[in-house]
Amino acid sequence: MTSLNVLIAVCLAYVAFLFGVAFAAERAGVRGRTDWLLRSPLVYTLSLSIYCTAWTFYGAVGNAARSGLEYVTIYLGPSLVIIGWWWILRRLVRIGRSQKVTSVADLISSRYGKSNTLAIVVTVMAVIGVTPYIALQLQSVALSLSIFSSAETGGVMDPDASTAGGFWIAVGLALFTVLFGTRNLNANERHHGVVIAVAVEAVVKLVALLAVGVFVVWGVAGGLSATLERIDASALGTWQTDGSRWATLTLLSATAFLCLPRMFQVMVVENDDERHLQVASWAFPLYLMLMSLFVVPIAVIGLEVLPAGSNPDFFVLSLPLSEGREGLAMLSFLGGFSSATSMVIVATLALSTMVSNHVVMPVFLYLRQGGATQSGDVRNVVILSRRLSILGIIALGYVYFEASGGSGALAAIGLISFAGVAQFLPAMLGGLFWRGATRVGALAGLAIGFTVWMFTMLLPSFGPGAVLSADTFEYGLMGISWLRPQALFGIAGMDPMVHAVFWSLSLNVLGFAVFSLVSFPLPLERLQGAQFVNVFDHSGQARGWHASFAESEDLMIMAQRILGSEEARRLFEGEARGQGMPGHLPEPTPDFLQKLERELAGSVGAATAHAMIGQIVGGSAVSVQDLMAVADESAQMLEYSSQLEAKSLELSDTAAELRRTNDKLTQISLQKDAFLSQISHELRTPMTSIRAFSEILRDTDGLGPMEKIKYASIIHTEAIRLTRLLDDLLDLSVLENGQVTLNRQSGSLADLLDQAIATAQASEARRITIRRRRLEETISLDTDLDRLAQVFINLITNAQKYCASPTPELRIEAARQGETVYIDFLDNGDGIPDDAREVMFEKFSRIGAQDSNGAGLGLAICREIMVRLGGDVTYLDNTGGTAFRVILPQKLALAAQ
């Protein structure tokens, strides 16, 4: 009986051996020795075998024992893909190498304009999709350990041992991956050590499975013909496999082969030579065939020989054990161990690259913005972030393994992972073959596909009541019947797996196509799209005379587009003459290229010029037509956008003007309303008195003569007030409309003041003492003297009316400065309050409206008149009373009329 300790010791020895192999390969790689083994297509083919994980190693037999020939699909899909390598794989590898792609996420993000959003989405999806798969590997190793220990202890499984086993395996794998996956400081380099170790493990698992197969056929069943008889006799061959399930599974495994991050890692990233694919195209299917050769015999014999209830997933292990062949069992265990470890190592490596490149580093660089950046510093951070990512991903797998508690058949978990990563396929293939595919389309397809996958496959896999409630299963999400996770859109009766794959991929493709068609790609996307789709057009051929001639031609066409036909021809012909070349095309010498680049840079900017020349001369993937399209488009777009800009500027100017006009109109309209209201009030008030008293006089009998006289004089006074108001209004209207004709006369200021004072004193009952300095008033004026007198009268009358002093007094002071005359009217009253000074020249503004008979038009009229006369009337502050200053030119200028 092999003790568990021996088993663990063998395991450790095996791992130590792998370390050794990896280390040796790594050293050879560092020294740059092109070891034939390292560069061999055989190693490449064997490394592809990480496709066969513990799920395939153990689970294929289990699958066959449960569902008959269905397991074949898992081998069929990848075989079809690799046999048809010319079509997809060659393209993938070429792009991966030319674009220095590091992962699936990188590939998809590069294709769609280097979108980091897309990279993050793919990374997150990959981590979610692959975590159960990693857990599955840990589980299979743990279970196989516990099968050994149960055989040792007499059939009792020790769950603690199994969990502890899972933990230590996780730790060991993490260590290995960190050591060999992140040895190189340059993160883009390939991992020779890991690849060699994986290839060795591939051999171990094939040998182990073949050995068990041979033992079962010749050791247990008793020869080939006996085995065949037993197979015929078993029920296994008669199980009908559902056609749709077959097709779906084949599609799924083919898709997974392309999309699984670890497959991408070994197939594209670790590829040394494109020609290796050619060998792999026959060698890998052969490997898969050998792996599947003994699956049916082992399943059939296992079902027959082993006690009912044995887990068919571990027949490969339990058959030799039950026959007492511990050595063979040990080999078989090592085979399963190899399958599991190689998968976890490569998957973790691939995922950690994605997580570190697309999630951790952008965040780190974002946070570091503004800080001191040293390049060496960042390289260490890359390595550190990868190591942490590796630990994190393995920890995640372990947590999932712990949490799921080893539930479910191995195949079911594997299929969920397959379907999850299959969601990358539309964006990936679409990007390789369809130039119309856009970033928005890819994002939409991925998001839709992944959501549907989560809803129809991942979440239901935890069972009703775990994440989705039983009600959701029965009646649909939120009670919407067509949102049942296993009967989407009311289509029930499909196999749940087929159902999930069908809907998630169909809706994914639909979303991808529709959103690609309706969205417009960015220039970078367009460029990358062209590079991806036309990857074979411009690369790979040796350059001869013909090629360089073509280059000059291409350069010429491009230069014509940018510099204009004449300019470009002059440049090229001049250069050709200088080189002594016949015709108009020069050799594309470095000097000439530099010159051309400088010329182009003047038109399109240095970066673009450099890129354009680089694209043509560097012979990389873009065709001239593509470049021309980009150039044309950007020129058109530039023009269009400048037009738009001008238009929008014009529009916003017009809008602003409209707004201003509107505001002005609104204000004018408001002013007009207020004005009408005021006029109405001013007219109606005297009219009210007139009407009321005339009615009284008419209707009242027995009025005394005194009363009659009193009321008649009220009517008279109010009628005069009304007339004066109308006069003022007309005056103001004429002044404001500029229809006034000024009547120019000559006269002295003194005379004019005499006249004005006499008029004012005659019209107003209240007296005011007026002090003048006659000497100063000997100023001759040549202006509209009547209008000026009107202003004076108004100012004097105001003083008479409103000066609150018990001994009212008005000083009139005149002065002349050059051609300008100043006449101040200063009284000894209370003055005008600050807030009223601004508005008192407005129409209808009255100050302390009490006992005023005026309509508040006087000062407004004064100001209008003075403006007409080329001067002004203003209020003087800080004189101790109310003070106005009239300013006017001595001679009325004609222009002012």
């Binding site: 109606r684 008195s689 008293f693 209707d699 409206a849 009490q850």
Partner: protein, 127 residues
């Protein structure tokens, strides 16, 4: 029994006319010509009816009316509003503020007398 009317108006001649008209009909007429404290004066005087001008120094007739309506004591006091502004919007504003009667200046003496009588009658009926 003598009825009491308070006239809030700032035009001397209009005050004179209304005082003459209403006194002859046996009303006791008091006047007040400032808007600022008008509402307070009305509350103190407790007139049967108020005749209220709109354009008053200090505070507009509309504001005074709102103030009256907001106060419990004067909430349903009959108020005749007189305005010289004569825009239809003024009538709407007065009605919104809760005026009892609204008339535009210049008014007919008979109409004012009738309005005052009606208001008093209606008010008596209600209370």
């Amino acid at each position: 029994m003598s009825h009491h009317v308070l006239l809030v108006e700032d035009e001397t001649n209009i005050i004179e006319a209304i005082r003459f008209l209403l006194s002859r009909e046996g009303w006791q007429v008091d006047t007040h010509s400032n808007g600022t404290d008008a509402a307070e004066v009305i509350r103190n005087m407790k007139p049967d009816i108020v005749i209220l001008d709109v354009m008053l120094p200090g505070k507009s007739g509309f504001d005074i009316l709102e103030e009256l309506r907001a106060h419990e004591q004067t909430a349903d006091l009959p108020v005749l509003m007189l305005t010289a502004r004569g825009q239809s919007r003024d009538r709407e504003m007065a009605e919104k503020a809760g005026v009892s009667r609204f008339m535009t200046k210049p008014f007919s003496n008979t109409e004012v007398l009738n309005a005052v009588r009606d208001m008093l009658y209606v008010h008596r009926q209600q209370s």
